[in-house]
Amino acid sequence: MAGFNPGNNASGGSVFADMRHRLLMPSWITIGVLLVIPVLLMLVYSFLTKEFRGGVIWEFSLAAYDQFFFDRGLFGDEPVKIEWTYLTIFARSIVQAALATFFCLLIGFPTAYYIATRPASTRAFWLFMITVPYWVNLLIRTVSMKFLIRDTGPLNHWLMQAGILSEPLHLINTNIAVQLGLFYSYLPFMVLPIYASVERFDFALLEAANDLYAKRWTAMRRILIPVVKPGIIAGCILVFVPSLGAFLAPDLLGGAKNFMIGSLIEEQFKGSAGNWPFGAAASMILLSLVLLVLMFYARSDARSAR
């Protein structure tokens, strides 16, 4: 942005600087209205008192956070213990999101590498193929997945016909099904940024490493991976963050036992059984976690840029 400012004139307030601010107004307004205000609203709601049929009473309360972290017994008069229910859900979410990121990277990196090393004329085709399924709504795709993997579904049917299994593989309502759903939902978010950075990679560098006595895999590890690392990190964030808050896959494929934070939050705002302040508090805790991950990324990025 600084490059747009002609020269470095100390007089300031140049025509261009003014214009820049004005041109950026729509972006600022959009971000303000659609991002900052809702988050602030959420923050406020998380400190209010719950109304039993959904909604809130405008009275300050820490009850939501208290409920999240502490167990005070049924009537709130027992000695304070840590409430494990929600922390377990959080931990499960983090593990699931981390695994989804890992599997997406495992499959996504070779895919992106393959596409980026095709002749330029066929790359667009491969990218299109990667994104085709995503023209269909996520809900429909997740429901289809449910049909595919259920006990009497086509997957089990084929596996049994082929003689690989003697009885159906029970996938539905397991963590594995949730993992499958997450992996499938977010794979392109891993492939695309990695593709973008591998496509820009100068393959002559691998030849140079080869020339300097590096074997093929050493050259990949020491040269290719570090150079395309920004793409890998971007892909990991784009998969990890939405996986963490996902609720469709856990709801539809995981059933009641394999709850993730997304579903927990969603439930708080649905119908009269909800608890808005609690949902808001859970959201704020999730948001803090995401910010922590992003800060970690920013730090490692700054270190590698040095």
Partner: protein, 364 residues
């Protein structure tokens, strides 16, 4: 200079699909030699270098390094390093780490490797830049890092693919001298690719002139400039006047040839591998500086007559174009210090003489 053979190529052919990039190339490059591959764009210089480095396989023929066949050796197992045309420095590594890379891959002990890196950076005068990233260096500095990186693992042969082409003229000239010094100090065989003949002539012990995937001539700078073996070399190296001619008589490689206008001239056949029968056609090749303008006061006729065309002022001398009656043109150089006052005007008739012993005869 009775030295061992560093690289020997014999009957190397390289085919890309239906296109042939190299036809039957045979070369012998000696130990500690500064050997240059010179030729126009697309003649196969890079291809030849990549075959020696191990990035391309040969379609036919053999490649030997110090007497050992290396056709089946992968690039990472050949004791040969390359300075790439675009440098190809590792962008995420500091100058030190770039130079260290090859040493690490060769499992040189850390302490020794550090010492070697330091010595290399001193050699290319970049000690003060050891911690910089490649993006923070100028083109010339990057080029020197590429050189240090390639020299560090002590290769038996160093390959350089137009390493100076990305630099501006001044820097290029300075780097040429440095390169030559480094080669002499390091005592390594250099195979240097360029399409810049001045670079080739000033740096090389020997030059191979290439054209269209074939070697045209191999020799010292002097050989190649003074005795081009064919029309391509005569035309490509320096400036030449190539006059259509016929062989009138021959005594071994000393020919008597006909010139336009009927005069005769003694010309030497440079390509001693061939015999030209009387009557064969070809070209008499005369360098512009070997043509002498005869003044009216000389009272005699030279071997060529013509009409003066343009003058081109070149600083130390002036180039004169003379049109011969049959439509061919010749160029000559007149030193400004001596003849400035007496230069003939355009349109004037003049007579030219060829310095004795300087004419060469080349076939097509």
């Amino acid at each position: 200079m009775g030295r061992g053979v560093a690289v020997a190529l014999s009957h190397v052919r390289k085919q890309y699909g239906s296109a042939t990039a190299l036809h039957d190339v045979s070369l012998t490059i000696h130990d500690k030699e500064f050997f240059t591959l010179l030729g126009p764009s697309g003649c196969g210089k890079t291809t030849l270098l990549r075959i020696i480095a191990g990035f391309e396989s040969v379609s036919d023929g053999t490649v030997q390094l110090h007497g050992k066949e290396i056709a089946d050796l992968p690039a990472n197992a050949r004791p040969v390093n390359t300075v790439f045309q675009q440098y190809s420095l590792f962008p995420h590594m500091s100058v030190t780490d770039n130079v260290l890379f090859g040493l690490q891959m060769r499992k040189v002990p850390a302490a020794k490797a550090r010492q070697r890196v330091k010595a290399m950076l001193e050699l290319v005068q970049l000690e003060d830049f050891a911690q910089r990233m490649p993006a923070q260096l100028s083109g010339g500095q990057q080029q020197r890092v590429a050189l240090a990186r390639a020299l560090a693992p002590e290769p038996e042969v160093l390959l350089l693919d137009e390493p100076l082409s990305a630099l501006d003229l001044k820097l290029r000239q300075a780097m040429r001298i440095e390169l030559k010094q480094i080669q002499e100090e390091a005592g390594i065989t250099f195979i240097f690719v360029t399409h810049d003949q001045e670079e080739a002539l000033t740096l090389s012990d020997r030059i191979a002139v290439m054209s269209a995937g074939a070697i045209q001539q191999v020799g010292t700078s002097h050989d190649i400039y003074e005795s081009p073996v064919n029309r391509f070399v005569a035309d490509f190296i320096g400036e030449s006047n190539l006059l259509e001619s016929r062989v009138l008589a021959h005594d071994k490689h000393q020919l008597t040839c006909a010139l336009p206008g009927g005069a005769e001239v003694q010309a030497q056949l440079s390509d001693t591998s061939i015999e030209l029968p009387v009557g064969s056609s070809g070209y008499v090749c005369v360098r512009p500086e070997k043509l002498r303008l005869l003044l009216a006061t000389d009272q005699r006729n030279g071997v060529l007559q013509g009409v003066v065309g343009r003058h081109i002022y070149l600083g130390t001398d002036t180039q004169l174009v003379v049109h011969l009656p049959d439509g061919q043109r010749v160029q000559l150089r007149c030193q400004n210090a001596q003849q400035n006052a007496q230069l003939p005007e355009p349109g004037e008739r003049v007579s030219l003489d060829i310095e004795p012993g300087s004419a060469r005869f080349v076939s097509h």
